[in-house]
């Protein structure tokens, strides 16, 4: 037996190696496609697409979407869907602008109050979804709708402008390397969540909670606390996204932010097919947001109409998820 064992091991290791190599190909499909999209549009529109202004615009404008998408990763990882987050973006943006302009609250306090209100929404979500035990999708559908209504109510259903310039400066006017500072905020948040999910015991626990709740409970994990925390964290980041949203335009409109819901989910799911396939991950989502944004800007430069956005989001998501499913199926067949 002592002689036989090494040969067995030698015989069984090549398939394992091959499997890993195939996985690593799957890992980089999305980033490579993004690069391909950049190259193609640069060839098609050499005078307007591959320019610093264009790149800077794409990177800055989408910071709000990045922060919201990263926020969604927390409940997604623990197995909950939070669809109130986009409405919280609008609520937070409206609160900052209204408090600052109509109520003359100093902008710093306005920001804190907006974040606190966002967190309250998260706690309400957590209470109903976890403590009471109603499906998070239903709970957040309700709270999201409430937040949307509250936003319209407090603004008398009209756009509010006049946000303090200091906040606008801190979000969009100040630039580093020609890119608005909000882009760097979003990257910092992305790094933070990457770290939390990958390099802390908390991230491991969240993963198990999302994959197998009973296993988590019987492994001594406080499932309720982790789920409430995830919903709270998501609403908090949605609140931050709202502040960036208000800061970018200096104003807020009723219903603002809700257009971000589908792109954010598309990016989160698209991101889960890359880098660490099968898992929601921060940098995958970041790449997904910019892949989608790049594609849309390119198509618009080619003369496409506005509705191309929705079509591109939907098509990219379906194609990516389909491709990743097929790759996985082929891999398990050959394994």
């Amino acid at each position: 037996m002592t002689v036989a064992t090494p040969t067995e091991r030698g015989a069984s290791s090549p398939p394992a190696v091959r499997r890993r190599r195939r996985l690593s190909l799957e890992r980089y499909v999305l980033p490579l496609t993004w690069l391909a999209v950049i190259v193609v549009f640069s060839i098609l529109k050499p005078d307007v697409f591959p320019t610093g202004d264009n790149a800077s615009a794409i990177l800055s404008i989408n910071a709000v979407l990045v922060v919201l998408t990263i926020g969604l990763l927390a409940p997604l990882t623990v197995g909950d869907l939070d669809i109130s987050a986009a409405a919280v973006v609008g609520l937070s943006a409206m609160l900052v602008v209204i408090l600052n302009t109509n109520r003359h609250v100093p902008v710093g306090y306005a920001v804190l109050i907006a974040l606190a209100c966002s967190c309250v929404v998260g706690l309400i979500n957590g209470f109903f979804a976890v403590v009471v035990g109603i499906d998070a999708l239903i709970v957040t559908l309700g709270t999201g709708s409430l937040a949307l209504g509250a936003t319209a109510w407090m603004s008398n259903n009209s756009t509010v402008t006049g946000l303090a310039q200091s906040l606008v400066n801190l979000v969009v006017q100040d630039q580093i390397f020609g890119v608005s500072i909000e882009f760097y905020y979003s990257i910092a948040i992305c790094v933070l969540v990457f770290y939390l999910l990958r390099y802390t015991p908390l991230g491991r626990r969240m993963l198990i909670v999302g994959q197998a709740r009973e296993v988590a409970r019987l492994s001594g994990i406080n499932v309720a606390r982790i789920r409430i925390g995830s919903l709270l964290f998501c609403s908090f980041l949605a609140g931050i996204a709202g502040i960036l949203y208000a800061g970018t335009s200096g104003s807020a409109e009723p219903g603002g932010g809700s257009e971000l819901l589908l792109p954010a989910y598309a990016a989160a799911f698209l991101g889960s097919t890359t880098l660490t396939p099968g898992r929601f991950n921060a940098f995958g989502s970041l790449i997904a947001v910019y892949f989608l944004a790049t594609g849309i800007v390119g198509l618009e430069l080619l003369g496409a109409q506005n509705y191309v956005q929705q079509i591109f989001y939907g098509a990219a998501l379906l194609v990516a998820v389909l491709a990743s499913t097929l790759i996985k199926r082929a891999a398990s067949r050959n394994a």
Binding site: M1, V3, A4, E8, R9, A11, S12, P14, P15, A16, R20, R198, Y199, T200, P201, G203, R204, R205, L207, I208, Q211, A212, E214, V215, A216, R217, L218, S219, G220, I221, N222, G278, A335
Partner: protein, 547 residues
């Protein structure tokens, strides 16, 4: 021909025992030198098996040892690279023609039985005739059902041929599948009669009480001179019902022996090889150290079905708890771990006294307890994360230093656990559900043993695992106990309880109905004590009413 056939079962490298059976003129089947390669892996390496007329021949081996490949070769489904196959004295050549195995009298009943649930018993019985019939419309249903009833009666099956197979009991489905395999098929006009029937784990899905009927049918077949090749993981069935056994390991013959000439330990050793010795070593490395003289005491433990259970388990003992299905004995395990809802009472472990109402799994883990739940993929481990993530989940906090999870240290821990428990394959970055059931179970054990628990609570720890892993896990449990761990072993496998425990508590009617100690701990006693609990519930109405 058959006369020169001598089963070649020497395995010079291993030194395992091997009896060369006498050359027998009534050899029905002889396969030798069967070699089959899948890619770089040898699934069968000169495997051989021979079955005599009127013999029940066991085919044993762990999952992946090559049993099913060998059977597929016999059926002509898999083409081997090399090998000889002789049936009834005639040498056959590979590849076998379609239907050749059947024409030669070989019959196969697979684990899933191959019955169609929505069709009637009669239609399933004569499915071949229905499939091959040239008639599209006209079937004389009257005579069809009569003939089916006659055929079934002849094999001792008294079921209505007109009802759908999904309506009949599991045991009757098994018997129907066997009957279909061996009954002479008059309609197809083939002269072929059954000479050898291959049964691939025919009893795994059956209630234990019904298994006897399968063996009754097997005995009838054998008395008619039919040979039976019987694949099973259950040691007691093999022991009680086979004449000879052939053991495969890693695609090679370890030996063919008369069943009576070996004891269980020897047989298990033939099947698992060196595994068992390794688990003993690993247990030593993983058992808790230090203050070991601390018994576990349960005071007035009550759950949904149990009332005021008092128990003391000293370290070093494996306490068995059992009862009939629904008796709720397993609730003790979950309550002690703080995972049972609505449980009351208290748990005392040395200086620590915990009120069960306030106990959580987290607190129980701090007290040094570990729970191996029965539902592996529902409660035990997460299917879609890596082996490493499962194995290290319960200790992950220890590897969080200077704000970062030390991933390389976690990898080292996982490698060591994978090696200590003999988990295959050894790549711990694989997704857990790609492992076989037995290996998944070892991952579940690893996940808890890495904490070096003082109290090990086990609920059906060998459910759905192959005999090799089962032996490994049993050895493990025994070793952990010997090294001073308190072990409570909840199971409905009476044989295993009898094997591992020196004291078995039988739960019935919400309380401890009987405690068996020492020599009283036998499979039969446990079974009869369990049954007694049910008759006590409703003595006037009989056992059925107890449910």
């Amino acid at each position: 021909m058959a006369g020169d056939s001598v089963t070649r079962n020497e395995d010079p490298g291993t030194g395992e025992r091997s009896d060369t059976p006498v050359a027998s003129p009534d050899l029905i089947l002889e396969a030798k030198g069967i070699t089959k390669r899948y890619g770089g892996t040898l699934a069968l390496d000169a495997a051989a098996v021979s079955v005599r007329s009127g013999e029940v021949h066991g085919l044993l081996g762990q999952n992946g040892s090559g049993k099913s490949t060998l059977i597929k070769v016999l059926a002509g489904v898999v083409l081997p690279e090399e090998g000889e196959l002789t049936v009834g004295g005639d040498r056959l050549t590979f590849p076998l023609a379609i239907g050749e195995a059947h024409r030669r009298g070989l019959r196969f009943v697979h684990q899933n039985l191959g019955l169609i649930g929505t069709l009637t018993v009669a239609e399933n019985l004569f499915i071949e005739r229905l499939a091959l019939s040239r008639r599209t419309f006209r079937i004389n249903w009257g005579s069809f059902f009569d003939e089916a009833r006659d055929t079934l009666r002849r094999y001792g099956l008294h079921i209505d041929p007109r009802i759908a197979v999904q309506e009949i009991k599991l045991i009757d489905r098994s018997l129907l599948a066997i009957t279909r395999a061996v009954a002479p098929n008059t309609a197809t006009g083939s002269a072929s009669i059954a000479r050898l029937i291959v049964l691939d784990e025919p009893t795994v899905f059956l209630p234990r009480d019904d298994v006897g009927r399968v063996f009754g049918m097997i005995r009838d077949l054998v008395s008619q001179g039919i040979g039976v090749l019987f694949v099973s993981h259950r040691m007691d069935e093999v022991r009680d019902h086979t004449d000879r056994v052939t053991v495969l390991r890693d695609g090679r013959n370890i030996g063919t022996v008369e069943t009576d000439s070996v004891d269980d330990d020897e047989l298990v050793r033939m099947i698992v090889g060196e595994h068992a010795a390794r688990s003993a070593r690993a247990a030593e490395e993983l058992a808790a150290r230090g203050d070991q003289d601390v018994p576990l005491r349960l005071h007035k433990l009550s759950t949904r079905t149990l009332r005021e259970i008092d128990l003391t388990v000293p370290p070093g003992e494996i306490l068995g708890i059992t009862g009939l299905a629904g008796a709720g004995y397993e609730e003790i395990l979950y309550a002690v771990f703080g995972a049972g809802r609505g449980a009351t009472g208290s748990v005392e472990l040395g200086p620590d006294l915990a009120d069960v109402r306030e106990l959580t799994p987290h607190r129980a883990m701090e007290l040094g307890m570990a729970l191996i739940p029965a539902e592996r993929l529902l409660h035990g481990i997460a299917a879609r994360v890596t082996v490493e993530e499962n194995e290290t989940l319960t200790v992950v906090d220890r590897y969080f230093k200077r704000l970062f999870l030390n991933r390389s240290a976690l990898n080292v821990v996982a490698s060591r656990l994978t090696m200590q428990l003999g988990i295959q394959p050894t790549d711990h970055q694989m997704q857990t559900d790609q492992l076989s059931g037995g290996n998944q179970q070892k991952v579940l054990l690893a996940k808890w043993l890495v904490r070096r628990p003082r109290v090990l609570l086990l609920h059906e720890p060998t459910q759905g695992v192959d005999v090799g892993a089962r032996a490994d896990i049993s050895t493990f449990i025994r070793q952990m106990a010997e090294l001073g761990t308190v072990v409570i072993f909840g199971s409905a496998e009476y044989e295993q309880l009898a094997d591992l425990c020196t004291r078995v508590v039988i739960i019935g009617d919400g309380r401890i109905s009987r405690v068996l100690v020492g020599d009283q701990v036998t499979k039969e006693n446990i079974l009869s004590e369990c049954l007694r609990t049910s008759s006590r519930v409703a003595p006037a109405l009989g056992g059925a009413a107890a449910k």
